[in-house]
């Protein structure tokens, strides 16, 4: 199987939620309405061809530094997130990579975690300006800040879900919930049950219809 790599940046901001409590939100971008995984949502992703073009490396694998640079450039160019270049409050972590096997290619997702602890400072990309954001996103891309719970009900490709699991494992390994340190609120886990959070739903269901994958677990093929 041929191998293709891409750089995924999980951009997380923490800000006061509607109930006054600090809430984590993640930036999601909608895929085009056509093609593979049409209309599903993913974290901002830079594809291999772009990575290579950014760094003039036709063949050699990318480094974390290169991917991080490409991701930042992507966020600035696509979403006018200029604040990301100057914001002092940003933490970045290499989360490693996961793979997903499509029928004829093996795709490698290199994931980076980009955390903005004082997310209220990132005011002008808040959910309230959702519509404005959508317009700002010049090339017709729709973006949305989702909580982990909302992520659980969004239509997200399996590969991207795996990168989110990477983040959850990283947070668990780190032994301390990052939210906690910044908000002073104690939480052992992210508030979203893993099995729900990890499951993509592509379309709105009729009322009362259960997801069939709640009954049958993914199996090793």
């Amino acid at each position: 199987y041929p191998r293709k790599a891409c750089a995924v940046s999980i951009l997380e901001r923490i800000r006061k939620g509607p109930n006054g409590k600090p809430t984590s939100e993640f930036l999601l971008v909608k895929r085009p309405e056509k093609g593979l995984l049409a209309g599903m949502w993913e974290f901002p992703t830079v594809e291999q061809s772009q990575l290579r073009a950014d760094h003039n490396q036709p063949d050699t694998p990318s480094t974390y530094k290169q991917r991080s640079e490409s991701s930042q450039r992507y966020l600035v160019n696509k979403f006018k997130f200029d604040w990301i270049k100057t914001c002092k409050d940003i933490q970045r972590r290499d989360l490693g990579s996961v793979q997903h096997l499509f029928s004829h290619i093996r795709k490698v997702y290199h994931a980076e975690w980009v955390l903005v602890v004082d997310g209220d400072g990132v005011g002008n990309v808040g959910r309230d300006e959702g519509k404005k954001n959508k317009k700002a996103a010049g090339e017709g891309l729709e973006v949305e800040w989702l909580t982990a719970a909302e992520l659980g009900t969004a239509a997200i490709p399996t590969g991207i879900n795996k990168t989110f699991q990477l983040l959850q494992k990283y947070k668990a390994r780190a032994g301390n919930d990052v939210d906690e340190s910044s908000s002073g609120r104690k939480r052992k886990k992210l508030e979203v049950p893993e099995d729900v959070a990890m499951k993509a739903k592509k379309v709105k269901k009729e009322d009362g219809l259960a997801d069939i994958s709640k009954f049958f677990k993914p199996s090793a093929k």
Partner: protein
């Protein structure tokens, strides 16, 4: 490399008609056992599992497992170009860019050859545990299709009640209410019309009619259908073919009383 020759093309045409409304794209997983497909519908509410066993083809050859990513609408369009009596041969090599289909008509020396472009499809295989169902109803597939279609007039949902006397399909809506009851019987004129029930425990479950009606697109594949049910477990609707099956799974509707 896959090479599979099917004496009656009509079978493959009917299989595609039975799944293409539910699933847009899917991998045909080819192995020495035959050709299988498993996929959830777009809304993740129903699961379809198809098996065309190797002994249904003559010859059948598949050296190495192969996942052929196919747009089912396109495939069904191409299959509509096959006559019902045509012999269909499927071929794919290991590079797997295209699926070749050959339709032969011996009557008038016509050979049609189609090549369908394949796609990369994100495949996730769900494990389906063996389940001992509380109730298994075997009945005429035409009767089942007809009941679903009829009750749709009244509601989006059907309640299925199985007792040892029979199976009752009921719906209720704005116009009024309705139910169709089939008694367990085995001495009807045509055996294919009989209704038989294996029962451990009475069940009363509620399902989306829209999905059931979609499943009945498989009616042409078999004169019989079996409905296997237990509480809080997905319904299994199965159409058996000579060398394989098509199975649909659908979870009961929650929080609704009919």
């Amino acid at each position: 490399m896959l090479e599979a020759r099917l004496q009656t093309g009509a079978l493959l045409k009917k299989v595609l008609e039975a799944i293409k409304e539910l699933i847009t794209d899917a991998n045909f997983d080819c192995s020495d056992n035959g050709i299988a497909l498993q996929a959830m519908d777009n809304s993740h509410v129903a699961l379809v599992a198809l098996l065309l066993r190797h002994d249904g083809f003559e010859p059948y050859r598949c050296d190495r497992s192969l996942a052929l990513g196919v747009n089912l609408v396109s495939l069904s369009k191409v299959l509509r170009c096959a006559g019902n009596d045509d012999i269909i041969t499927l071929k794919a090599d290991d590079t797997g860019d295209v699926l070749s289909l050959t339709f032969e008509n011996t009557d008038n020396d016509r050979i049609s050859e189609y090549e369908l472009k394949l796609m990369d499809i994100d495949s996730e295989h769900l494990g389906i545990p063996e389940t001992a169902y509380d109730a298994i109803v075997q009945m005429s597939s035409n009767e089942f299709a007809r009941i679903c279609r009829d009750l749709q007039v009244l509601s989006d949902s059907v309640q299925i009640d199985v007792t040892k006397e029979g199976v009752k399909f009921a719906a209720k809506g704005e116009l009024g209410s309705g139910s169709v009851t089939l008694k367990q019987n085995s001495n009807v004129d045509k055996e294919e019309d009989s209704t038989t029930i294996e029962l451990n425990q009475n069940v009363s479950l509620n399902f989306s009619l829209k999905y059931l009606i979609n499943f009945t697109k498989a009616t042409a594949l078999s004169g019989r259908v079996s409905l296997s049910m237990s509480s809080e477990v997905p319904l299994l609707v199965e159409y058996k073919m000579e060398s394989g099956y098509i199975r649909y799974y659908l979870a009961p509707k929650i929080g609704e009383d009919v």
